[in-house]
């Protein structure tokens, strides 16, 4: 059996994710007004980006896989955009 050690990018991502979790919880308790929601979702998006790029190995994948992986996000964007239009603009 070959000797195995956890690769540095995985360890760094894991520690980074835990640090971001600590940061997002701390920021949630500061009275920042509407920036609270922006911070929570923004840090969530950064965490999701780390998981997708490193854990899901998209960092090492070619354009074909990236197109397949972003298809879900593309349709999610349409769903959220068109779906919320009425509620955001209703007077």
């Amino acid at each position: 059996m070959t000797r195995w050690r956890p690769p540095f990018p995985l360890v760094a991502s894991w520690l980074g994710l835990l640090a971001l979790l600590g940061l997002t919880v701390s920021l949630a308790y500061l009275p920042l007004g509407s920036f609270n929601a922006v911070a929570a979702l923004g840090i969530g998006a950064i965490k999701a980006g780390i998981v997708a790029a490193v854990f899901m190995e998209l960092w090492h994948r070619g354009p074909r896989t990236l197109v397949f992986a972003s298809a879900g996000l593309f349709w999610l964007g349409i769903l959220l955009w068109l779906g919320s239009m009425d509620f955001l603009t209703r007077t």
């Binding site: 059996m1 070959t2 195995w4 995985l10 609270n36 298809a71 879900g72 959220l80 919320s84 955001l88």
Partner: protein
């Protein structure tokens, strides 16, 4: 055509087969994104309509369990990513052990979630079963808890399926490894990481709002 080759006739090589399997997994994940996307849209619409009630509902969730479960799930994802790497370097027993660790963390997540559900039941937060909340925000808080229970229950169902898939692969890999099992582990890992991704957003939407007021 040789009888014992490990890939079907539409593929030119086993590598081709594995690449197609990975793309197929991404297509499946896209459908899952839209499943949770519908829930997200509902959440945003009602949070926009009842901002104070959603903040109040969020304050009544257990942030300690939420943070612990997020850390547990991020760590289990890390272990699964390590398991994929370990199998690539032919450290099969380590891969199986890492999968075992991820499964234990997954079970721990579900255990904490059930503790949380039990507490919320006793505090009368389960809409349709036993919901009671005083004050003018009651309707909005109830909508928040509808989202909370539906989204976390669907997420927990995904966790159970993921634990089953990881356990099956751990058992198969205990015996031997093959290119086919390596590809299966990659697909299973993608699924497990996706379940982690969903939780990252559920955590931000359920536990964090309204904490500063």
């Amino acid at each position: 055509m040789p009888e014992n080759r490990s890939f079907a006739m539409q593929f030119v090589s086993s590598r081709h087969r594995d690449e197609v399997a990975e793309l197929g997994m991404w297509v499946f994940i896209a459908t899952e994104v839209l499943l949770f996307g519908g829930l997200l849209l509902g959440y945003f619409v009602y949070r926009h309509a009842y901002p104070d009630a959603f903040a109040a509902g969020s304050r009544h969730t257990d942030i300690m369990i939420g943070v612990a479960n997020t850390a547990i799930l991020l760590t289990s994802s890390f272990l699964v990513a390590c398991a994929v790497d370990a199998l690539q370097t032919n450290a099969r027993p380590i891969c199986v052990a890492l999968l075992g660790g991820a499964i234990i963390l997954g079970l721990l997540f579900l255990g904490l979630k059930s503790v949380e559900y039990t507490t919320e039941y006793h505090e009368h937060f389960v809409p349709g079963v036993d919901f009671a909340f005083d004050g003018p925000l009651a309707d909005g808080v109830q909508l928040f808890f509808v989202f909370y229970f539906v989204s976390t229950a669907i997420h927990a169902l995904h966790m159970m399926i993921g634990i089953g898939v990881l356990a099956t692969l751990a058992l198969l890999l205990r015996k031997s490894a093959s290119t086919r099992k390596r590809a299966a582990l990659r697909s299973a890992a993608l699924y497990w990481h996706f379940v982690d991704l969903v939780w990252i957003f559920l955590f931000a939407l359920i536990y964090l709002p309204g904490r500063s007021t």
